[in-house]
């Protein structure tokens, strides 16, 4: 079941969803989603010819990769055609485990019509998530597009789970300082 504007407001009021800083809800909430804005931080990958990345193999270290190949940028970031950049929402989103909510980050038609996508097949935000949402942005269009901090960049669609995820042993450890 997808949450409507009214239910999103209730989730925020009851602490089942936290968004910080809270956007102007009057304009950010739509009938079935909430719009979020872009932060001013960007990261690109510098490819090194002949270097392969093997994320499925034991010993794969993201930290080694990031130290070697990742480059920082600040807003405005000019996204060229066929270019990929990591970006983040300005807002930090928290969905407590207890909330029975999950969310999907989706793009906005205003950017999609220019050829800009905001994720690479990883749109699900599970209960328990806390943080600024990572956006994997790609320019499929023919134009250079300026990505400016604060611009409306994506929307979150919330879904309520039909049941409660398994938490088989939580009661057993209640009140213990170590398990």
């Amino acid at each position: 079941m997808i949450l409507t504007d009214r239910e999103i407001r209730i989730a925020l009021q009851e602490g089942n969803l936290k968004i910080d800083p809270t956007p102007d809800l009057g304009v950010a909430i739509t009938s079935t989603a909430i719009d979020l804005t872009l932060s001013d931080s960007f990261k690109t990958w510098n490819a090194l010819k002949g270097v392969q990345i093997c994320p499925g193999r034991p010993g794969y270290k993201y930290s080694d990769l990031a130290r070697t190949f990742q480059q920082d940028h600040k807003s405005p970031f000019i996204l060229r055609p066929q270019q990929f950049v990591l970006a983040w929402t300005r807002e930090k989103v928290s969905i407590p485990f207890k909330s029975r909510l999950a969310a999907r980050v989706e793009g906005k038609s205003s950017l999609a019509r220019l050829g800009i996508s905001v994720h690479v097949t990883a749109p699900v935000i599970h209960a328990g998530f806390t943080g600024q949402i990572q956006l994997e942005m790609f320019n499929f269009g023919p134009h250079e597009v300026s990505l400016d901090g604060g611009m409306w960049v994506c929307q979150l669609v919330f879904e309520q789970t039909a049941g409660t995820p398994e938490r088989g042993y939580e009661g057993m450890f209640s009140g213990q300082s170590s398990v």
């Binding site: 485990f97 398994e166 009661g171």
Partner: protein
Amino acid sequence: MQEFILKCRKLMEGPGPSEAVVEVVTKDGNTLELIVDTDLLEDGHLRIGPVVARQNGSLLIELPREAVSGQTRVWVTSDRVQAVA
């Protein structure tokens, strides 16, 4: 709902503005890296999700985010997990 924390080691600042890259140790002694929000870190521990199962002194826990290996649930030794009030 009972909350838990897991021992971890911060490796570096994360790619995002409020992120860190941390390392956790699995029950087999291997390490897993994951990128988490710094709000979830305190004194060398990471706030995690529910303990899902228990077996021979090990716990199956749910990480707050997918590890770089692609796993979200992982077996760890029970001495690395603490229940918090």
